[in-house]
Amino acid sequence: MNAGTLKQILLITDGCSNQGGDPAAAAALAREEGITVNVIGVMERDIIDEKGAKEIQDIAMSGGGVSQIVYTRNLSQTVQMVTRRAMTQTIQGVVNRELKQILGDSASIEALPPEKRGDVLEVVDELGETVDLEILILVDTSASMKPKLPTVKEALLDLSLSLNARMGNNQFSVFVFPGKRTEVEKLLDWTPKLESLTSIFPKLQVGGITPTGPAIHEAIHYFGRKRQLRGLLPHDDERYFEESI
């Protein structure tokens, strides 16, 4: 099986959106574009409010991804775990589709007897190790996030440490919302390493609004632009994943 490119949006937020359209709808759109949306809700010691928790789950569900609500101090491990789970989930989806083609409609990893699962899982593991990955990170920089931003930075550096230990290539890009003048602002263009965040992050200004929906829209748009640029070059191996997701 040819390893293609997995596309993910990783949204880090601490509450409800309050501007622009429904973020879950934007996430559903992303999913249609072959982009998985994962959400991490960061909270201090306080109890997370029901509404915020529900929105976080909704976005991930309609974005075909994984969501998790964590205390700030556990952020690093959660970020890498959520990313990994989402990758495995997507790859399993692809593998299940392949199985259905070979073995008929009822086939899936779950439907195989336990003895046979091992070999399929080996393929999933192998793909998870070798597949190329593009992650667009969306960081909520509304006022309440301010004290959490240093931890977010640490968690993102840690994520790049984890993912760069894989054999496959990684591309990261970072956006914040709200931006200085616009709803969403690009902080870092596609790069295999996130180290440059160290110098950019401390200078971040926080704003009042939380336009989560528009931020996801912008992210989808940005992925699209990348594809158009790529289209100029002969680059075929992406197609496999895009078609099958």
Binding site: A60, Q92, R117
Partner: protein, 327 residues
């Protein structure tokens, strides 16, 4: 989907619940919960063949890959690193099947409670045991990955260290899937999160540090090595392991057996210097026994030498008499 997973793995199965496998039809009766891991919960259960440890998870994939790892050890035979796999199956109490697997039940306290009860003197020898298991695992092309005291038990009555969670085991050359920050080389800024023997040896050193400092601490600044070595020097029990720990933390050991040899060297050296003993109860007596054994051995050696000299003297006397006789 994640939220679903966590909900399911949080669900508690009360004592007495009977779990029947869909494929192999084996039955298990749950006795109690032993612990909760990242991918599911482990229960003590009764089966036809006696007590087993039953891991019940949420995701078929993670259960299958753990069972896979356990199985590959069974193939490799012999060495008792992890528990052996007994069964893997699905349970269908409702519409959705719940994957589980049964493994050997290893009975004993976890490493931290064992050492805090019996004394830090046990830390060295248990880590030496651990290193020989780690070495065998590395030879088979795997690393432990998530090595930490919670995943290690000291089996009774043999007092032998065993690993109970195969979840973090990773093929050498791949990226480490599961880790715990305190034991992770990457977290301390001392190397990549890639599966190589050095990754495990770093964790082994951190396990020793954790046995001395039962309250784990966090990284203070960017110089992880300096902070860790300062902690080592401050603890009277750890201090003597300093050279080995430093090498393991810096990643200079090429293999687990090399680290084991050096650690063992320090432990045997220590025996004489350590008679003042800060160690746990019952230990001095044991040392006496060992000392007298050494004396006995010396005595035996002397005896042999004496016998040799006596034979030489007698033979030469006989020769002397014989030469007289000829003349």
């Amino acid at each position: 989907m994640m939220t679903n997973d966590t909900l399911k793995s949080r669900s508690n199965y009360p004592s007495g619940t009977v779990i029947t496998g869909k494929w192999h039809k084996k039955q298990y009766r749950i006795r109690k919960k032993l612990g909760v891991g990242a991918n599911g919960a482990v229960y003590l259960a009764e089966s036809e063949a006696g007590p087993v440890a039953l891991k019940i998870g949420a995701s078929t994939a993670s259960m299958a890959s753990e069972a896979n790892v356990l199985k590959s050890f069974a193939k490799a035979q012999g060495h008792s690193l992890g528990p052996s796999l007994l069964d893997a199956d699905d349970w269908e109490p409702g519409a959705e099947p719940i994957p589980f697997y049964a493994m050997e039940y290893i009975h004993g306290p976890d490493l931290l409670s064992f050492v805090s009860e019996k004394g830090f003197a046990w830390a060295g020898v248990l880590v030496v045991q651990l290193l020989s298991d780690v070495h065998h695992l590395h030879e088979q092309g795997w690393i432990f990955g998530d090595l930490k005291p919670e995943n290690l038990l000291v089996e009774v009555p043999s007092n032998r260290i065993r690993c109970i969670d195969p979840g973090g085991m990773t093929k050498i050359g791949r990226s480490v899937k599961e880790f715990t920050e305190f034991f992770d080389r990457g977290y301390w800024g001392l190397g990549p999160r890639k599966a190589d023997p050095g990754y495990d040896l770093f964790s082994v050193a951190m396990v020793m540090i954790n046995l001395a400092y039962q309250r784990r601490f966090t990284k203070k600044n960017n110089n992880g090595l300096l902070q860790l070595m300062a902690a080592v020097k401050q603890h009277p029990g750890l201090k003597k392991f300093e050279p080995v720990l430093r090498k393991a933390l810096r990643g200079t050991y090429r293999s687990a057996s090399e680290m084991r040899r050096e650690l063992l060297g320090l432990l045997t050296q220590e025996k004489t210097a350590d008679k003042r003993g800060y160690s746990g109860k019952g230990e001095p007596q044991k040392q006496k026994v060992r000392m007298s054994r050494v004396k006995k051995r010396k005595f035996r050696k002397l005896k042999k030498i004496f016998a040799g000299i006596a034979i030489i003297v007698i033979v030469s006397m006989l020769y002397w008499i014989y030469s007289f006789y000829i003349v």
